[in-house]
């Protein structure tokens, strides 16, 4: 705004005819009809059997399954992240054997379907009937029956953790690589070891890159837990199947599972929103202009 315009006063506000958007009206009409149809079927199609659904929504067997789904998701993500960090560090190690081992692991676990992996974990007793503690190729001190030692819960968590670790390894590696090389050099020049540099300098900075895809992985994991029915382990989808095998209410029970998954993933999405806001906040980005303006 220059001062020369002041004496002449403010010109009259523009009142132009807005551009018409007939496409928007058409799209709105189509969507409105589809929504009306959907509402109509939800309300008047008796085969949704809402009363039966609500009866089972908070029934003890369903709640047990929901709790199992939640802790399985949490265990898989925590375990997968910890092991994923180890794999990422191995992948970037100067030791060629560790690098190769990590690469091979990722090749196997990312190159095969999770469902197939879980089926194998469910049948692991067929491959190794007993588990022993001892010296490799030497004497064995203690021996267990695999079936007794590895419960469905353990097989389910191990299967999900090992698979998730392969994906988390790549996410962690991308995060570590996003940190400027100068940070490694600066901490190295101060006499810090590689492990100290990683723990104190690099990983905290890598978090900004690691957090958002990890949130997506968590939401994906919530849904992937439905695959452990392959083992079989009792979680939400398996519970729904259990009930409709008895009652023949297939759709109502599956819709009930859908409602639970939506509720849980909504909670996760809200958590992800706040986490990202926390790690994306501006205290670490340049605010020189603001700082100088304030002084």
């Amino acid at each position: 705004m220059t001062t020369s315009t002041q004496p002449r006063g403010r010109p009259e506000a523009i009142r132009a005819v807005p551009v018409r958007h007939p496409g928007r009206w058409l799209a709105a009409a189509v969507i409105a009809v589809l929504v009306a149809m959907a509402v109509n079927t939800l309300v008047y199609n008796p085969r949704f059997n809402w009363p039966e659904q609500f009866q089972y929504l908070f029934a003890p067997p369903v709640l047990t399954a929901v709790v199992n789904t939640i802790w399985l998701t949490a265990a898989a993500m925590v375990g997968g992240t910890v092991f994923g960090v180890v794999l990422a560090l191995m992948r970037m190690s100067p030791n060629p054997i560790l690098r190769a081992a990590s690469w091979f692991y990722l090749w196997v676990f990312r190159g095969t379907p999770l469902y197939t992996q879980l089926l194998i974990w469910g049948a692991i007793g067929a491959l190794f009937p007993t588990v022993s503690l001892g010296i490799p190729f030497g004497p064995e001190f203690v021996t267990w029956q695999t079936q007794a030692l590895i419960s469905a819960a353990i097989a389910a968590s191990v299967g999900l953790i090992l698979n998730e670790a392969a994906y988390m390894a790549e996410i962690v590696r991308a995060g570590i690589l996003s940190v400027d090389r100068g940070q490694h050099e600066a901490s190295g020049a101060l006499g810090m070891t590689r492990m100290q540099t990683m723990r104190r300098i690099v990983l905290p900075q890598a978090m900004r890159v690691i957090i958002p895809p990890t949130g997506n992985e968590t939401i994906a994991m919530l849904k992937n837990t439905s695959l452990v029915a392959a083992i079989p382990f009792y979680e939400l989808t398996f519970a729904a199947q259990n009930i409709y095998a008895r009652t023949y209410q297939v759709i109502p029970m599956l819709i009930m599972a859908v409602l639970w998954y939506l509720a849980l993933s909504s909670i996760l999405m809200i958590g992800q929103y706040y986490l990202e806001r926390h790690y994306g906040r501006s205290e670490r980005t340049p605010t020189v202009a603001r700082d100088q303006a304030g002084e």
Binding site: E185, A186, S187, A189, G191, P204
Partner: protein, 254 residues
């Protein structure tokens, strides 16, 4: 204490097929301020990085305070030092980078405290007090809790100098410390470095600031194409360069 703080004998360094250092010989005495100048790509930064083993040398010998850098000599065989031993050598050498390389997730005072606490395992209270004194010394006592992103380039570089000094190094390396700064911020960093030189710190400074070299430097080394072309008293070399390459370079920068 050995006669020389830094002694280089026929130091060679290649990156792949590119030979960057082609036999560097030089000595730096304790409390000496040596300025290294030369065109970009002449190998001066690489040489500086070799001194604290950020780069491995391919041939020759490099000593800091009488100790071989990065290797141990047993008989006529060299043994690579373990990572921890290299880290121990680096503790004694401070380094200041062109791009500051402060830790962006830590405040100024946390940047300074990090290495003494994590590496030397000194008590936090003691280090915090020393960090405060160092910030005061570089004129930033009021910026202790500022994050690097909230500081100007000149302020960041002064924090970086304080961070290096917190380890009480016997040698300070400066890799073009003012090259990434806006012109009006160069002076404040050079002032801190001058004070440091006056306090008797041994310094090797790769720089384009000829005024600083003339005023503060005890010696000046002109490097070009991986060798030391000319060296001597900075005032004499800058006023009356003997070598054609030195003359050509100085005519461009002075």
């Amino acid at each position: 204490m050995s006669d020389f703080m830094v002694k280089a004998e026929q130091v060679h360094k290649s990156f792949g097929r590119l030979e960057v250092l082609k036999g560097i010989d030089l000595q730096v005495s304790p409390s000496e301020v040596m300025c290294v100048v030369g065109p970009s790509g002449s190998g001066k930064s690489t040489f500086l990085r070799c001194i604290n083993h950020l780069e491995k040398i391919d041939a020759g010998r490099l000593y800091v305070d009488g100790e071989l850098v990065g290797y141990r000599q047993r008989g006529d065989k060299l043994h690579e030092l373990h990572e921890k031993e290299v880290a121990a050598q680096r503790r004694e050498i401070g380094m200041v980078f062109q791009r500051f390389n402060l830790f962006p997730h830590m405040t100024a005072v946390e940047n300074i405290m990090e290495a003494p606490v994590q590496v030397r395992r000194e008590s936090k209270a003691e280090v915090r007090q020393r960090a405060g004194e160092l910030l005061d010394r570089v004129g930033l006592a009021d910026k202790a809790t500022a994050y690097p992103g909230q500081l100007s380039g000149g302020q960041q570089q002064r924090v970086a100098i304080a961070r290096a000094l917190a380890m009480r190094p016997k040698l300070m390396l400066f890799d073009e410390p003012t090259s990434a700064l806006d012109p009006e911020l160069v002076g404040e960093v050079l002032e801190v470095m001058k004070q440091l030189a006056r306090d008797g710190m041994t310094m090797i400074v790769v720089t384009h600031e000829m005024g600083f070299a003339r005023e503060v430097g005890d010696s000046l080394v002109f490097m070009d194409d991986g060798i030391v072309v000319e060296s001597g008293n900075p005032r004499e070399v800058l006023a009356d360069p003997k070598h054609d390459r030195t003359k050509a370079f100085l005519s461009k920068v002075l």
